[in-house]
């Protein structure tokens, strides 16, 4: 070790090997954990390039924003229904008796630096999270990506949607403002409506008769601890299964059931997806900066005997509220008991049926078609008209129920009779899915019969011929589509734009595995 040549910089460099300190670090790590092979495989994982695969990424990255902003909010929010006198900077509320939950929510909006931005970003990120999950599910559904072997990941996804909706409602309730308080009241009544055990369940959930003092601290624990922990675990499982089973891909040249064509994890996909994380966070930041959401100081604190007019819940609760509005007032009341069907059916049975159908869809479809083989190549929506038609009809039902949650606003805006709007919604709820199904089926079948319908549109050259008729000649294929006609190659280790000076090889280093 006393050899003087080792002390020179060059000698040190040589001793470290061709990859320097990083190489040494990898050696050390690999000797202990054996990461080299798996790490290389992971870096070589191929991600198909298609815009629709971004929807799940939006959900994932808005969840990252939710976690980051949520941690910030917990530093200032006080989950307590103890009454305090508001002495903060928002003048209209000054001196009012409000709960600590409400006071701290207003204070973190006005007195904490960046607090309002964080609160609004948190709320926007939640809406985007749930919305992106729904869009992502639509992509997976309409392209048949849920088929064997990915049924489990579909199930995890649906549970994530339910948990996302549930946790959104819990978080929305925490500021204890007038609007969210009314939502909590409705949640209590819905729990109460369950036959036989409803009043027990609602008392156990709230710790007493409505409203009690336990609901805010309990919702807080569920919102910041229990549900996020489950969501994080399921997101991990979702991603693990995705890596294990590899991505699906759309059919195309060189794409088979036995390969995946696209960009490698490192560095191409990593650059794109990290950029996308920054973009999603940036857009949520811009929304939080410019688009006001849930101004609780305008609603005021919750008082059980007060109520606001024309207030809707967050969009993902809309279909439930709409169902509650249009369901008729049928109730059961005799033998000394009441079964509030007018609440139980639209708010417990209906979402139960909806989510169960969604969860069981892979099994239902396999049963109907008898197709139980493994699929890695996707279908375009037109390729499976029956499924597409069912999906559109199903989604149109949810959409109509969502619109029905604004019957009063619609009636006011269009100066219509409320009864007219109500009956229109009832009829549309049944009629629209019934029309949507055959219509979509027809469109899908005709598209399927059409040649080249999945290709990008190119201008046709139309010429008039001697007889006065018209001839259409299709133009050459769009250059972007032509690009995909390169056959894919296996991933080299390297990637330099210009050949390195000292390589005598063909620009690509030989990889030793």
């Amino acid at each position: 070790m006393s050899d003087s040549s080792l002390t020179t910089k060059r000698a040190k460099k040589q001793a470290l090997g061709p990859y320097g300190k990083l190489g040494q670090a990898v050696n050390e790590l690999d000797e202990r954990l054996g990461v080299a092979k798996g790490g290389r495989t992971f870096m070589d994982k191929i991600f198909p390039d298609h815009w629709s695969f971004m929807l799940g990424e939006i959900a994932l990255y808005s969840f990252v924003v939710l976690l980051a902003t949520g941690v910030f909010l917990t530093l200032y929010y006080v989950p307590s229904t103890a009454l305090v006198t508001y002495r903060g900077s928002y003048a209209p509320l000054y001196g009012q008796h409000v709960t600590q939950a409400f006071a701290s929510s207003v204070d973190l909006s006005f007195a904490v630096r960046g607090g309002l931005l964080m609160r609004q970003m948190h709320h926007w990120a939640c809406d985007i999270f749930v919305g992106a999950i729904v869009m992502h599910m639509g992509r997976v559904f309409f392209t048949g990506a849920f088929r064997k072997p990915r049924e489990t990941n579909w199930l995890i996804g649906v549970i994530l949607l339910i948990l996302g909706i549930g946790n959104g409602f819990l978080g929305y309730s925490l500021p204890d403002d007038l609007v969210s308080g009314t939502g909590i009241r409705i949640a209590f009544s819905i729990t109460e409506s369950i036959p036989l055990v409803g009043s027990y369940l609602s008392f156990f959930l709230f710790g007493s008769n409505y409203p009690g003092t336990a609901v805010i601290p309990r919702f807080f624990v569920l919102h910041v601890l229990l549900l996020p922990a489950i969501i994080v675990g399921l997101v991990g499982a979702h991603l693990f299964l995705l890596v294990r089973q590899k991505h699906t891909q759309f059919p195309g040249p060189g794409r088979t059931e036995n390969n995946v064509v696209g960009s490698p994890m490192f560095p191409i996909f990593m650059a794109k997806t990290t950029g996308f994380l920054l973009l999603v966070a940036g857009v949520i930041g811009l929304l939080g900066a410019t688009a006001q959401i849930n101004p609780i100081w305008q609603f005021g604190p919750y008082e059980a005997a007060r109520i606001s007019y024309a207030v809707q819940p967050d969009f993902y609760m809309g279909f439930l509220d709409g169902a509650l509005r249009i369901w008729p007032s049928w109730t059961f009341q005799s033998f000394g008991h009441t079964i509030p069907f007018e609440v139980f059916i639209p708010s417990v049975i209906l979402p139960g049926v909806i989510f169960n159908i969604i969860m069981a869809w892979p099994a239902i479809e396999a049963k109907i078609t008898g197709d139980r083989s493994i699929h890695h190549l996707l279908e375009r929506p037109k390729d499976n008209p029956q499924r597409t038609a069912f999906g559109v009809a199903f989604f149109s039902l949810i959409a109509i129920l969502f619109i029905a949650s604004s019957t009063d606003v619609i009636a006011n805006f269009f100066r219509l009779d409320l009864a007219t709007v109500l009956w229109a919604m009832r009829i549309l709820t049944i009629a629209v899915p019934l029309i949507a199904y055959p219509l979509t089926l027809r469109i899908a079948k005709e598209l399927r019969a059409l040649e080249g319908s999945s290709q990008r549109k190119t201008a046709n050259l139309v010429t008039r011929n001697a007889e006065g008729g018209y001839d259409a000649v299709s133009a050459p294929i769009h250059p972007d589509d032509a690009l995909t006609h390169h056959t894919a190659i296996a991933l080299p280790t390297f990637i330099t734009e210009a050949p390195a000076g000292d390589t005598s090889d063909t620009g690509v280093r030989t990889v030793e595995r």
Binding site: S199, P264, L286, A305, I307, S329, T484
Partner: protein, 309 residues
Amino acid sequence: MTEHHTPVTLSSVSENDPRLQPLAKNPQDVERRIAVLFVAGMVLEACFGWAYWINAQPWILGFTFGMGLTFLGIGLIAWGKYLMPQGPFVEERHVLANSAADRDAFTAAIVDRGGGVIKRRKLLAGLLGGGLGVFSITALFPLIRSLGPLPGTTLQHTDWKKGTFAVDVTGRRVHVDDLTVGSIVTIFPEGKEETDNGQAVDQTVLIRISNSNFTTQKGRETWGPSGYVAYSKLCTHLGCPVGLYEQKLQLLVCPCHQSMFDVTNGAIPNFGPAPRPLPQLPIYVDAKGFIRAQSDFHEAVGPGFWERS
């Protein structure tokens, strides 16, 4: 360093292969644009720090933060899309399923090893199962039962009793001369106006419909002295406060789901999803002219539940 390594041959790919070239036709130009985006992002994030330091308006904080990240993000995406090798690249998809023999070995291990052990000691297995079963049932008690009290008859009653004074939200007793015809006030049992239960359960609307005694339904002849009628303010649909009074139509409207109750006719719902009339509170005017309750409501207030008769 003497082990054998199998080189992966990529001899078919030359350095000029189009798939290893960037997508951009003019990489230098794209690189310049991305550099501009990164500089803009860097400057904006610095502005964000500055805005935070001087405690600027929230929209300035969010704008600098959001725009900065957006620029950095778009730049990075463009770098990945236009300047890195365009591909496409391919990887093989290996079948996850193992051979039938492997599966049989796995199943056999479960059945033969586990099954053998359990079958030989049936008593122990049964006792262990029983113990864990008992534990899982008793574990439910602290988990569920201690979360709250049993409802009992809580939901059947309110704080209104015979002779209770009606007070408004400030605690002031309501006098028969207080309201003009067509006016409405929310009342609470005296002493309960500040409590959770008083606010959430006892809340009642007092409406003056006329100047003379008013009967809303047969059998309720004494319930509407001097034209005052009192109804529970809890909607029978989902318990929202029935906060809107349509004076001309004599309707109480719930803003949540638009149930409407006819106040002149026992608050029978004539529109919307509410299944039952609002319970009416029997009231009387005492010698000094104050509004007081004759008794509690004759039925449970609010939305329906199983034990409600």
